[in-house]
């Protein structure tokens, strides 16, 4: 790492970030354009095929893809993934790879249902329905776990990958454990209330807010600098550790909203096997890699995964006899293909490394 002359710290930092952001904006643009063009091409092809052969599979598919209810369904499915992905962006941009997103989703999905059940699903407290207090409780649980992860990684310099795995496995054990204690089984059973489509609104707002914060505020610039060039940030007089704490805690906030959305949209927690989260946290990681660390890109990638699932559900309803377990495997396969053929994005330079403050 190059040492910068002490006199022109701020100027150098400013120039360096400007340079980099210009460059990355250019590469971003071409990358995103390529991906978008590809998607538009597939959709256009499908539309043409559907018009030409309305009775074929393509006809059915095109009617599914261009249908409002399927879009809503796709948005609903992509909400937890997109929210977790935004959280992951904040953590990784600040220099901490948070592979424990899955654990944050699990713990918040459970805590939201648990708190709602404890309060009584139909009660309102100070005009706030219990389900929204439950939602907040889910976010809080995720933030607490994210805080533990942050302390372990930043304070005690743990290997981020291993610590992230630990966060996942702790949640994977703790949620079914607590569910068995309170609900008598790993699955909570239905609460009888759901949160409706509000999470979609929250998710879209989060995407916009995250983009603005990351690219239009000085805090966002600090976050990006903490992951790219922590030394420069340090010499500029900003506490790198504090920025990284903020990044990881924000990942807890967003992933917590994702997990709470997931369980409260159906109104129950499922804790058997790999829990109801079923790898969405890991899919979220791939979503933001695919989206090149841009909240908008991550949203697009999440919508792609959600869309695949929504199309699958609709195909089942139309009576295509494909075993649904097999079709549910498609997102996982897509994730691998994306990683292998598309997702060669440049990770933040200092991500995964500890930073020692220089005296």
């Amino acid at each position: 790492m190059e040492v910068m002359p002490m006199s022109e710290d701020d100027e150098t930092l400013g120039r360096a970030t400007a340079d980099r952001s210009l460059r990355s904006r250019l590469t971003n643009a071409s990358y995103i354009k390529r991906v978008l063009a590809g998607l538009a091409g597939i959709l256009a092809l499908l539309g043409v095929l559907g018009l030409l052969f309305p009775t074929s599979v393509a006809g059915d598919l095109s009617r599914i893809v261009f249908r409002w209810s399927v879009l809503v369904q796709a948005l609903r499915i992509s909400t937890p993934i997109a929210l977790a992905a935004i959280g992951g962006i904040f953590a990784e941009k600040s220099g901490v790879i948070n592979i424990g997103l899955e654990g944050l989703l699990i713990i918040s999905a459970f805590a939201a249902v648990y708190l709602t059940a404890v309060l009584g699903p139909d009660t309102t407290i100070a005009f706030i329905p219990a389900i929204w207090i439950g939602f907040a409780g889910g976010v809080l649980a995720s933030v607490v776990l994210a805080w533990v992860f942050a302390v372990v990684c930043i304070e005690f310099k743990a290997d981020q990958i291993i610590a992230g795995l630990a966060v996942w496995l702790i949640a994977l054990g703790l949620a079914p454990f607590a569910s068995t204690l309170y609900f008598g089984s790993r699955d909570s059973g239905s609460l009888g209330v759901t949160i409706g489509n509000w999470p979609i609104v929250i998710m879209i707002a989060s995407v916009a807010i995250a983009w603005v914060v990351l690219y239009r505020t000085s805090f966002g610039r600090y976050i990006r600098a903490a992951g790219e060039n922590p030394r420069a940030l340090d010499t500029a007089g900003v506490n790198v550790s504090r920025i990284r704490y903020a990044g990881v805690l924000l990942s807890g906030v967003f992933a917590g909203m994702g997990g709470a959305s997931l369980s409260l949209t159906i109104g129950l927690f499922g804790g058997t096997g790999e829990t109801m989260v079923e790898g969405r946290g890991f899919i979220a990681i791939v979503a933001y890699l695919f989206g090149n660390y841009n909240p908008l890109g991550a949203f697009g990638a999440s919508l792609l995964f959600g869309g695949l699932e929504a199309i699958q559900i609709r195909l089942q309803q139309l009576g295509y006899a494909i075993p649904d377990t097999l079709v549910q495997t498609i997102p996982y396969i897509v994730v691998i293909l994306v990683l292998a053929f598309v997702g060669r994005t440049r990770i933040p330079k200092a991500a995964g490394e500890h930073y020692e403050t220089e005296e």
Binding site: V152, A158, I161, V167, I170, G173, F177, Y182, I336, L339
Partner: protein, 424 residues
């Protein structure tokens, strides 16, 4: 020339000292992590005792009247005692139960878990040593188990029934498990080596894919229609690994454990005394230096993940051969437990034996705890994560150690910490 030699000799001596010291330090960190995980687990048991309801409290917070339904010390005693098949009479006069025998059902269960954990632990250990975070042992186990069950079911009519046929079938089953698991492990290896796809994500995705594909294959093609769950036909009795001294209901076969000990020795030899093992270890610690020194890193990645997968597959085969006699959809999470075992063992094959025994005891004991109290056996799932979390932060223990020894105690060597962290 001679000076360079002398220098090299001195560096080597120094390195040997460092390695030894870091091994001891690692063992210490593992034990301390276990201790802290158990303490945190105790707090969780206490809290869970506030969530459930009971008429009389088992434990009161000292100097207060705040009661808890479960006494953590009691739970842990029960857990330890239960893992061994309850040799101790807790809270009764006389310490040891005279009717207790080593060859009891519960201890057999503990050893069965130990045997399976040895193989999943070794599977994780070899990949972690190569610097590859293979989280896919679970999927490799599922695929290996499926391969073993199917091939044995369909090969059984071709060989004579009885001892000879049984031996042939068992060897065939283990080989098939290793091959299936190995091939499945090679996939993330190839993806990592030739497409630069992060192995953590690909292996986790492959776990889901394995579970789904195996489920679909069995439920739509190979299902035994007389079974109420999704499962294959059973392999014949004579082709299952028998329990020799332990009760058959424990599903523990001593042959499996012996095989596990041999596997440990084999992997240790491979890692420490062959040139391939040297390649693996150096790529794990210093990938760039290893490549510079002539190690073909792509080949090493694919090979080590294939071997890792083979061990996962053998674990699956043994699960079928000892426990279920068929593939069924409720595959236990032995692959994830293997991560904890390997990390506790410092990714050292020799360390896998005590780590697997320890974790096997936790699992065996937890079943007994769940049987006798309302504390769910999912407690082990929590401990599994906590142990990894603590082992992941050696710095935490160094800080405690420094505080205990005083500031002028042994200042940790930068070389030691680097070496220690890079291995994981």
């Amino acid at each position: 020339m001679s000076r360079a030699d002398r220098l090299r000799g001195r560096i080597r001596a120094q390195l040997g000292w460092l390695v030894e010291r870091s091994a001891a330090e690692r063992a210490l960190i593992s034990l301390a992590s276990l201790f802290f995980a158990i303490i945190v687990g105790a707090v969780i048991i206490l809290i869970s005792g506030r969530v459930t309801e009971c008429s009389t409290a088992a434990f009161y917070l000292p100097f207060t009247s705040i009661g808890f339904c479960y006494d953590p010390v009691q739970i842990y005693l029960l857990l330890f005692n239960g893992a061994l098949g309850s040799p101790f009479l807790l809270g009764e006069p006389g310490l040891i139960d005279p009717s207790w025998s080593v060859f009891n059902f519960r201890f057999g269960f503990t050893l069965k878990e130990t045997t399976l954990l040895i193989f999943t632990g070794l599977s994780v250990a070899i990949s972690f040593r190569a610097g590859l975070f293979n989280i896919g042992t679970q999927g490799q186990l599922v695929i290996g188990a499926l391969g073993t069950a199917l091939v044995m079911v369909y090969a059984a009519p071709l060989v004579p029934a009885g001892l000879v046929g049984g031996v042939v079938l068992i060897i065939l089953g283990l080989a098939v498990g290793a091959i299936f698991g190995g091939l499945y492990g090679a996939i993330p290896g190839l993806l990592k080596a030739y497409a630069d796809a992060n192995e953590v994500i690909t292996t986790i995705m492959l776990n889901f894919i394995a579970a789904n594909i195996a489920f679909v294959l069995v439920s739509s093609v190979f299902r035994d229609p007389s079974s109420s769950v999704v499962a294959t036909y059973e392999i014949p009795d004579y082709a299952q690994l028998p329990s020799l001294a332990f009760p058959a209901s424990s599903n523990f076969s001593e042959i499996g454990l012996i095989a596990g000990v041999f596997a440990i020795a084999g992997l240790y030899y491979l890692l420490e005394h062959t040139s391939f093992g040297y390649d693996i270890r150096t790529s794990g610690v210093q990938p760039e230096a290893a490549e510079y020194g002539g190690v073909d890193s792509k080949k090493t990645i694919v090979r080590s993940l294939t071997i890792s997968g083979a061990f996962g597959g053998i674990a699956g085969a043994l699960w079928v051969l000892m426990q279920t006699a068929r593939w069924e959809s409720s595959v236990p999470a032995l692959g994830f437990d293997g991560i904890t075992v390997s990390i506790l063992a410092g990714n050292n094959p020799i360390g896998v034996l005590p780590a697997a025994l320890l974790f096997g005891m936790l699992k065996g004991g937890a079943v007994e705890v769940a049987f006798q109290t309302d504390v769910p056996s999912d407690l082990i799932g929590v401990l599994r994560g906590l142990i990894i979390l603590f082992v992941a932060m050696p710095e935490f223990f160094r800080m405690i150690g420094k505080r205990l020894l005083g500031t002028d105690g042994q200042a940790p060597d930068a070389g030691t910490t680097d070496g220690g962290d890079a291995d994981e």
